[in-house]
């Protein structure tokens, strides 16, 4: 579930400028509280993004490397 997020407007890394603004979200595992990881949110900034919202992992293969993204379950 979503514990936090930020909408990044200034990326300090090369390669991310085409994506701004993008959302980096923090997910906490339902199976283990406090075990958290961060990933971009597939849907970007959307009103459906809320504290505690359910997310699942999907993969973005578009850059030739599989990058995990978080995706809102109920949109």
């Amino acid at each position: 579930m979503v514990r936090s997020w930020t909408v990044v407007h200034t990326a300090f890394l090369p390669g991310f400028d085409p994506y701004v603004p993008y959302v980096v979200a923090v997910a906490e595992l339902v199976e283990q509280s406090r075990l958290r990881f961060t990933a971009r949110l597939a849907q970007g900034a959307t009103p459906a993004l809320r504290y505690g919202a359910a997310v699942e992992t999907v993969f973005d293969d578009s850059g030739g490397v599989a990058v995990p993204l978080l995706s809102l379950v109920d949109v």
Partner: protein, 394 residues
């Protein structure tokens, strides 16, 4: 007198705080160090201890040159042509409290009688957190491939968690930033001298990593602050009223989370450990503090410090700020020295200096009445440090 080896601040100097300077940082540091020594009524030969926390804050730059991008105490003593009895460098974050704690322990142990503590800050010509990396290894692999890089977005994750849990608003945070800038605008060496801010300026400021806007971040600057500390038996002979080190604490919290990922629970659990160490060290409680100079390198840190120190209930600092509770005229003048938001990115110097100026009676037209016990905080409560100051010796 109680403890003759209790450390005390006996003098200070501060360079102008500017974005970039033509004067090399090393030269600025020498000038400021000499001015601090003179302010204490001493000569260079009297100083027998030197320390700083020299950690360079910007990532992604080129090689760091001592005397140019940072200034260590080793560099400084070589140029001052002195051979002190004692010299040390603090390695971690919470650089200024870390250095003051080293100095205090050296004085208490008799390793030095007069210690110069300085902090030299450098603003690189390129973007502060720019990073050219093409591949991410080690702990970076968990953050960089997702576009999570640099303190603004790290702080945004902690702040958004606070916003979501406690219902904090951007309008409430405007009160924090406006108060810091109002006070910083009254400090002649501040980058923001004569330039206060209104709430609308804050609300319309550019987002960096929402909810962190550019005005939630302190502005990168070049500048130097320096202090002379002495043992209490020597401090009483100095021209200015001494301000005594009454205790201190450092945040050394270990979490399972990466250091690049700031979770609100880590900040509060680590902060609680820092706060209880501080109260053990001082014998004080939250109600004993007149002047809590909380750290504000990012505006949400003001809330975090106030709450972990027990100066207001957890989740309530945003309401306190919005109600004017942090005003210099109020009960909790937490931003009276302008902090980092009101001076520029001086990494804890504004907090320490405000404690010294108010407790020694040297704040001039900004002087507040009845200031006897103060705290100077730096960095986050779980990683950083805090030093307690008192106008009276133990």
């Amino acid at each position: 007198m109680g403890d003759p080896r209790q450390p005390a601040i006996v003098g200070f100097a501060h360079s102008p705080v500017v974005r970039h300077t033509d004067v090399p940082l090393g030269a600025l540091t020498i000038q400021t160090a000499l001015a601090a020594i003179e302010d204490a009524g001493l000569g260079v030969k009297d100083i027998d201890g030197f320390t700083t926390g020299a950690l360079f804050p910007s990532s992604g730059g080129g090689a760091v040159a001592d005397g140019e991008h940072t200034v260590t105490s080793d560099w400084l003593v070589e140029r001052l042509r002195v051979q002190p009895r004692w010299l040390a460098g603090f390695q971690g974050v919470g650089q200024l409290p870390g250095a003051v704690i080293l100095a205090s322990n050296a004085i208490a142990a008799g390793a030095a009688d007069y210690v110069l503590v300085h902090r030299a800050m450098y603003n690189p010509p390129r973007r502060y957190h720019e990073n050219p990396m093409r591949e991410a290894a080690g702990s970076d692999q968990w953050t960089a491939p997702h576009g999570l890089w640099g303190p603004p977005s790290q702080m945004a994750l902690a702040y958004m968690e606070y916003v979501q849990r406690y219902g904090a608003t951007r309008e409430e945070m405007a009160a924090v930033v406006v108060e810091a800038r109002r006070n910083g605008a009254r400090i002649p060496w501040s980058h923001w001298y004569g330039r206060p801010l209104d709430g609308q300026d804050y609300l319309s400021s550019r987002m960096v990593a929402d909810p962190i806007s550019v005005l939630d971040c302190d502005i990168p600057v070049t500048g130097v602050g320096a202090f002379v500390l002495a043992s209490a038996d020597r401090a009483s002979d100095r021209p200015h009223r001494p301000v005594y080190v009454a205790g201190h604490a450092q945040g050394r919290w270990r979490s399972a989370n990466s250091l690049d990922f700031w979770a609100l629970d880590d900040i509060y659990e680590g902060g609680a450990a820092t706060a209880s160490a501080l109260w053990r060290s001082t014998g004080w409680g939250p109600g004993d503090v007149d002047l809590p100079q909380v750290y504000d390198g990012f505006s949400p840190m003001v809330y975090f410090w106030l709450e972990v120190l027990g100066l207001c209930p957890v989740g309530e600092a945003h309401r306190l700020a919005a109600a004017g509770g942090l005003s210099t005229e109020g009960d909790l003048p937490a931003l009276s020295g302008g902090g980092a938001l009101g001076n520029g990115r001086m990494h804890g110097v504004p907090q320490m200096l405000e404690c010294y100026l108010q407790l020694s009676g040297r704040a001039g037209e900004r002087q507040l009445a009845g200031m006897e016990r103060a705290l100077a905080c730096q960095s986050t409560p779980n990683f950083g440090g805090v030093v307690a100051y008192s106008s009276t010796p133990r």
